[in-house]
């Protein structure tokens, strides 16, 4: 297994230790707004364990993916809704 992986967060490359979650990569990229709430508020991860659904983003075209439950893979394209 390689020691690091690189993903693109809103087009910006971020290198993470292998096994990292997409949520951590997004924050490392300096992005804190993962999605907008029903009334347009900025939101980011809360529970970190797949329960709150606040960390959902678009991963490789799949909308509403929970970034805290998705492991980073090389070349992954991550889009936030900020």
């Amino acid at each position: 297994m390689p020691e690091s992986v690189t993903v693109a967060v809103n087009g910006v490359s971020v290198t993470m230790p292998a096994g990292s979650m997409v949520s951590a990569a997004i924050l490392k990229a300096g992005v804190t707004t993962f999605r907008r709430s029903m009334s347009g508020e900025p939101r980011g991860p809360l529970c970190g364990m797949g329960i709150c659904f606040e960390c959902r983003v678009t991963i490789d075209g799949e909308e509403h993916s929970r970034s805290c439950q998705t492991v980073c893979k090389d070349g992954m394209d991550v889009r936030t809704d900020g």
């Binding site: 990292s20 490392k28 970190g48 709150c52 805290c68």
Partner: protein, 411 residues
């Protein structure tokens, strides 16, 4: 009684799986996370951080257990079969006996600003750091209630965070009583104390507001008559834990005082369905492990062996009782939300819209509170504390699943 299915790969699930496999059952463990370990041993499969975790992972490797990770159980089409969604589609899981070890989540309480990005659960921030978030040099306020706050603060500090303070809502008197009950867990307590040297641990203290434009910039704390503001990068805030009982409720298991009701062999009100660990009530790691062992042995029909573990469980239950009494939430916390504070984050339902109602059912129908993707998992613990409302029913799917999954489950 050949096939045992364990839901949850945290300590309770692993202990159950180990005992069941050792007793000759064919065991499968299913978990929605990408790797085994649960929250407490998250990411430790490859690199265990404690001797206890290492010992358990070694035990698990010494027996034959099938692990299915990244699978979310969402429905029981008939007794003895569960459906789970994976990235490759829906899988069917069959069992003769079932162990529910679905763990717990943090209780979140709403206060002004709690929806700002970088306000997270205490366990929430720890999970993010464990899975790759760099925390070195970041200023963190840890707040809420429960022993988890200390563990999280020590962990974050160990990873280079600047932990500014720990705000615990319980009083000094409550904490002192708990301290007396720690005998037996002294080594853990001492090691935490050493790791947290120099960090203020303020009892009877809590966050009343988080501030920032677009993301967290500071928090306001209150303690006695004093209010003050602290600048920070992250707020890690959780008010102890609540059991994850949704799957148990879907299977019609009786839930009592917020946890799944079990008999002396950890069997729920439903035959051949067992409950182990935090899902039966919050009690910590050691209670989870022994409950898991008892459930695994009982599922394999080894009731005498299970009985041999009752004294250990009894001792741990005493500790659990003390734990929960110590971290009982104070009434003042019900005053935390302002009228315009959002309580249901999925549907953006404010406190003032909720307080007009008399039950969660009425509030749900009128406001959609608890009807978004998390299905009340976050606001449920809050409205229970704020208004005394309990969720009335759980319907399949217990989690949002893709339309394809529902279609394939109907076929």
């Amino acid at each position: 009684m050949g096939k045992a299915l364990v839901i949850g790969a945290g300590p309770a699930g692993l202990a159950a799986a180990y005992r069941a496999a050792q007793s000759g059952l064919t065991v499968t463990v299913v978990d929605d996370n990408p790797a085994a370990g649960g929250q407490i041993w998250r990411g430790e499969l490859a690199k265990p951080a404690s001797r206890e975790a290492q010992a358990w992972f070694e035990k698990i490797r010494s027996v034959d257990i099938a692990f299915i990770n990244g699978a979310r159980v969402f429905q029981q089409p008939r007794t003895g079969t569960l459906l789970a969604e994976t990235s490759e589609g829906v899988i069917e899981l069959n069992y003769d006996s079932l162990v529910l070890a679905t763990g717990a989540r943090e209780r979140f309480l709403p206060f002004p600003g709690w929806t700002l990005p970088n306000v997270m659960g205490a366990g929430g921030l720890q999970a993010l750091v464990k899975t790759g978030l760099p925390i070195e040099g970041k200023r963190v306020v840890v707040a809420g209630s429960g022993p988890l706050l200390l563990a999280v603060a020590a962990y974050l500090r160990g990873r280079g965070a600047e932990v500014l303070l720990i705000a615990e809502q319980a009083s000094q008197l409550q904490l002192a009583k708990f301290g007396l009950g720690l005998v037996g867990k002294m080594s853990q307590a001492f090691s935490l104390k050493r790791q947290l040297r120099g960090v203020e641990y303020l009892s009877r203290c809590w966050v009343i507001a988080a501030h920032g434009a677009g993301k967290l910039e500071s928090v306001t704390l209150v303690r006695g008559g004093r209010r003050w503001q602290v600048s920070c990068d992250y707020l890690a805030c959780g008010f102890h834990l609540v059991p994850n009982v949704e799957l148990a409720e879907l299977l019609s298991c009786v839930v009592e005082n917020g946890g799944v009701k079990v008999d002396q062999f950890q069997q729920t009100s439903v035959a051949n369905v067992y409950g182990a660990g935090e899902v039966t009530g919050i009690g910590g790691l050691d209670l989870s492990l022994v409950e898991g062992e008892i459930a695994g042995l009982a599922a394999a029909g080894k009731h005498d062996d299970a009985r041999g573990l009752f004294p250990v469980r009894e001792q741990q239950r005493k500790f659990a009782k003390l734990l929960n009494n110590t971290f009982t939430l104070r009434d003042e916390l019900r005053q935390l939300p302002a009228p315009e504070t959002i309580v249901c984050r999925c549907e953006d339902v404010t406190f003032e819209r909720l307080r007009e109602h008399h039950s969660w059912r009425a509030a749900k129908l009128q406001t959609r509170c608890g009807m978004g993707p998390c299905q009340g998992r976050v606001c449920g613990g809050a409205v229970e504390f704020l208004f005394g409302w309990r969720a009335e029913s759980v319907r399949p799917p217990v989690l949002p699943v893709r339309v394809e999954s529902l279609i394939s489950s109907a076929e």
